[in-house]
Homo-oligomer: 216 residues x 4
């Protein structure tokens, strides 16, 4: 399934823009450096060296250093959101999933793999969002609006079915999202080197959410 690929490879394979070989190297080097040291602390000369190209080559493809950042971060936001908007949630609503629990399980599996494969990109995204208003805006528009909207529909449906407690959707979203992101962040960013029994932890996470949201 294409969702499981790393975005970086998708960049290089799917994109019709036909990225040059050098462009691919630049992108890869930039992702590595940005995620390790942060955007502001990464110099273009460093990226050039790592990519094995001349510094000028970077600026032939990306007008500014910031353009390079955006060319990395913007498509990834789209990729992240795509399945919510197009596939999975539709499936849920189309009764492919009978209930919130199955949905959660499908989503976690799907998006967790996505995160895992794109860790560096996510680090960049979350590090830089606070400092770039355009990114913040994009993020809100995409995630807070498109994804949230779809989520809301699902929640209403599950609430109507009596599967989950009758809280305002935004609270349900917040509690669900917190728990899932908490897992991802702990698992892949904070303590990636610990031993994690992934299947077990995911199951615990799902049960925690389901019980937390169970009608009283």
């Amino acid at each position: 399934m294409s969702d499981q690929d790393s975005i970086i490879e998708e960049f290089f394979e799917e994109e019709k823009d036909g990225l040059t070989d050098k462009q691919k190297k630049i992108i890869a080097a930039a992702i590595e450096s940005f995620s390790e040291k942060g955007f502001a602390a990464t110099s273009t000369s460093e990226i050039a060296k790592k990519a094995g190209v001349a510094e000028g080559t970077i600026f032939r493809h990306y007008k500014t250093k910031k353009d390079l950042l955006l060319s990395i971060v913007v498509p990834m936001m789209a990729k992240f959101i795509a399945p919510f908007v197009i596939n999975d949630l539709n499936k849920v609503l189309n009764t492919r999933y009978e209930n919130y629990e199955d949905f959660l399980r499908a989503m976690i599996e799907n998006r967790v793999i996505f995160f895992k494969n794109n860790l560096a990109l996510f680090k960049i995204l979350f590090q830089e969002i606070p400092f770039h208003p355009e990114l913040k805006k994009l993020f809100k528009e995409h995630l807070a609006e498109k994804v949230y909207e779809r989520f809301t529909e699902l929640i209403h449906y599950c609430q109507a079915e009596g599967q989950i407690i009758d809280l305002p959707p935004y609270s349900v979203v917040r509690l669900t999202a917190s728990t899932i992101f908490g897992y991802i962040i702990g698992r892949y960013l904070l303590f990636p080197e610990e031993d994690w029994e992934d299947d077990l932890e995911i199951e615990r996470t799902i049960q925690f959410i389901m019980h937390g949201l169970s009608p009283r």
Copy 2:
């Protein structure tokens, strides 16, 4: 209660080093700039201007720009952790709180206010931790070890009492912490401008955790 003060003021009042007036202004200016633009993207000249001091003055007090960062971030980590280590958790174990729910409530009230009063500092902390190994180490030692240890004791106690489900403590900590931080981040960082019914949301959050952790 001193926990409710902003750390910045505590810096200035409690510290025995006896900060000069200029030093205070430098710290305040640095906090503002670092949290707005990030450490790497903030120049010392900018801080000097904002603080109303000469550029050289900063370096009289802090050998390097990074020293300035650490002088801000390190004490705040200590302050954040202090109550866990010294007061509240002890109180819990000393049976001042009868159960996990009361503890959660007390902790949220206590630490949420702390966050709220020190938002800028937290932004800096979380932004910079990934890029400074010393910070990461400090953070892990303090939080992951000291706080986690205390938490574990409490969890064992509550599990023994049958209040919460018998999961491994690290899972309980993870799920609890995710949910609480999720609230704080949503409330104060992502969507601070939305209308939040704080008491209600906090109650929902607590109930979510309690049900999520209830013994099956």
Copy 3:
């Protein structure tokens, strides 16, 4: 009369080298940019964009940026000087003009139109001469020597006829040229947007010179 054409068009039509279409566009773009921003401040990529050709194409035709400048400026110096050397002055000396005044009138009409049609080129020429010794040398050789020589002959003739005062020819040339160039510069470079009664001003200019040079 071909003198009245713009040099640029002459470039394109008369030149035996047979300029390609692209070459014409490059020259036109270069003239525009050089005259607006100066040679040093104009980039070849800008010229390429304006000309609608690839950056490399410029260097296929002109080895260096400076070559491009020279290919513009050198032929124009020749064109400017040509009539002095070949046509008009000969005509004067061949008694087609009876006196200095008629000559002045003819020259102003002739060369003023030439200036007007080639303003951009003249701006480039006068801007760049001070910075390019080869240009300076060319200019002196052509103008200061060939034109000056012809002028001198005419002046001697007119002085012998008692039409103008008996100053050294270089003074006569200087005073005449200053006045005429003063008109052209004021008219077309400094204050082109003012209302000018051209015929009247030209007549005043001629009368000023004639009276200024009248034998006492």
Copy 4:
């Protein structure tokens, strides 16, 4: 007389801003380089080297390279214009000079020396005016308005006295100025290395203007 000093020295001595030693060296180096190679073709590193300061030092005193240009060119425009506005013309109108000829003689002596002492500055001024709209504007406001106005008064006076022909003042100004600038440019910029009998040439120039403007 202070008008006869070079502006550069005045910069350094009279200015109350109290220029640093380094600043003086920067200005001197910039004037030399700008006048030799043009503003755009001069690099800040070159100026720094010539001035014997670090490149950063330039930017401590002048925010941009263009600022440096303006800090050179703007005060000189003021200096050039000052005597017209304040001293000499007033003197003329206050009957210190009886006629246009005496005025011309005084002005040429006065301003020619000024030019001679500030050749490099004038080269810069005239080279750069076409490319910097602010300069162009300043120039027009100062010269075209203030000086021109004063000139006009004088011309009206001399015309009323019957000393000069009854042309529109702008024509008189143009013809006078062309002739004088023509002398200066020829003398100091185009052919400075020729032998010039200065007194004689100036007298010829004055006589040319006076006869050129004599009432018919």
